[in-house]
Symmetry: C2
Subunit: 241 residues, 2 copies
Amino acid sequence: MIATARDLRPDQPALTRLAALAPLEADTAATLQVLIERARLVAKRRELMSEGRPIVEPQLIVSGWAARLRLLIDGRRQFLGFVLPGDIIGLSRHPRPIAASTVIALTDVTMCTPPRIGIFPELDEAYSVGQALDEGYAFAQITRLGRLDAQDRISDLLLELHERLSLNGMAVGGAFDLPLTQEILADTLGLTTVHVNRMLQMAKQNGDLTWTAGRIGLNNPSLLARKVGRSPVKVFGNRLV
Amino acid sequence: MIATARDLRPDQPALTRLAALAPLEADTAATLQVLIERARLVAKRRELMSEGRPIVEPQLIVSGWAARLRLLIDGRRQFLGFVLPGDIIGLSRHPRPIAASTVIALTDVTMCTPPRIGIFPELDEAYSVGQALDEGYAFAQITRLGRLDAQDRISDLLLELHERLSLNGMAVGGAFDLPLTQEILADTLGLTTVHVNRMLQMAKQNGDLTWTAGRIGLNNPSLLARKVGRSPVKVFGNRLV
DNA sequence: CGGAATTTTGAAACCTTTCAAATTGGGTGG
DNA sequence: CCACCCAATTTGAAAGGTTTCAAAATTCCG
């Protein structure tokens, strides 16, 4: 099989995602491409943004994984959701916004400041669609924690990640890199590390998934989705999914 | 004690809240006042908005309680959060937005369409602050479900409601009307009705609260807040709480 | 190669759910 | 204004899913 141009120079996941949220004009894409190439690095474990502190500029995640998180006084923590390439954090119409949550890098992350609102109309649309999706993911997280058992929480979360990563080209054929420890999964799903471990083993035995060396494989995403009663997060008519 | 003008003609909760989010000019307040007086009624149990369907216009809740909710295929339901007087639902910059969640009236509700974005600058600020608060409440809900036990979930939720109702003048001295059944609380907190009932009884015995005839009394909100390790949702610097 | 981080196991304790069934409360019609 | 009915609250006992607490086994990384 001969490699096509696309194989040799795949789109940036961030650009792929923004273009999926709203069709972009050539010059808009070009502008983004330049910004993306100049993305700056944030090392793993560093904060991209901290709860209660002013947000200087919004940031477009170019590569790597980050997570929103809340800390409790006694040291417990709760991950609110993940931030993936193509996601934008800190976007607000308010003149001097304050971060509602801390965001930390789970891997090394690169990010750049995206064009301000009001410059590229299609990009503005992508921003608002992205924001609506974020809201949908937050609602999905609430539902997961409130109404699913451990087993289904895990499946449902992995399906959501698969969905999101497919949107930016980072998941192919049900498989994708998952740079998370079981402890992070536990702090996301409201479970203990021990229990996540046991449920993960069960899921493997059930043939629902494989997980080796930081890479997840969902054997049959749509079947699994039906099993846990999950419907994908969609927001704007016939645009997504 | 002599009644003041304020006592005789209390502000509308909705107007009180918007004014608390951002100081309003006299004419803005007057415009809102007129819209509020013409608010239309939505009967208890009716939907204000349904998931997946287009949002025709945003709505400002004038009176009554509503709730965002998600239904699972098997009939289970999860309340995502409550919608109170002064809250706005369906606000989006997108041309033809789709509702990300269903909103139903828990009591009779009155609501009106607020001025569009771009007409009253201070109101726009109130909108964006309100949106930031909504995000904060969603994050708080995730944290509650993920990391608190039944007892603390209840306390934490009641404290949040107290906080929100104080903002619009519907809570006085730790007491406020709570038009919710224990079943609704259960479906909000990811618990069963039975367990909510038992935990509520314990809370009463502990002297943390009283609850009779749909009215809640928190005996010592700040003490309770410390006990469950809760910090109020604040968003914009020295503006709120 | 060695130490730290992560994953894995076991058994017991614990919080929450389940399943009925009884009791109380509120609203409506006679 | 009382009787009646449905909704909501309350109780008990047993089953069950998750957590806890250690400790061992693996894997990762400098």
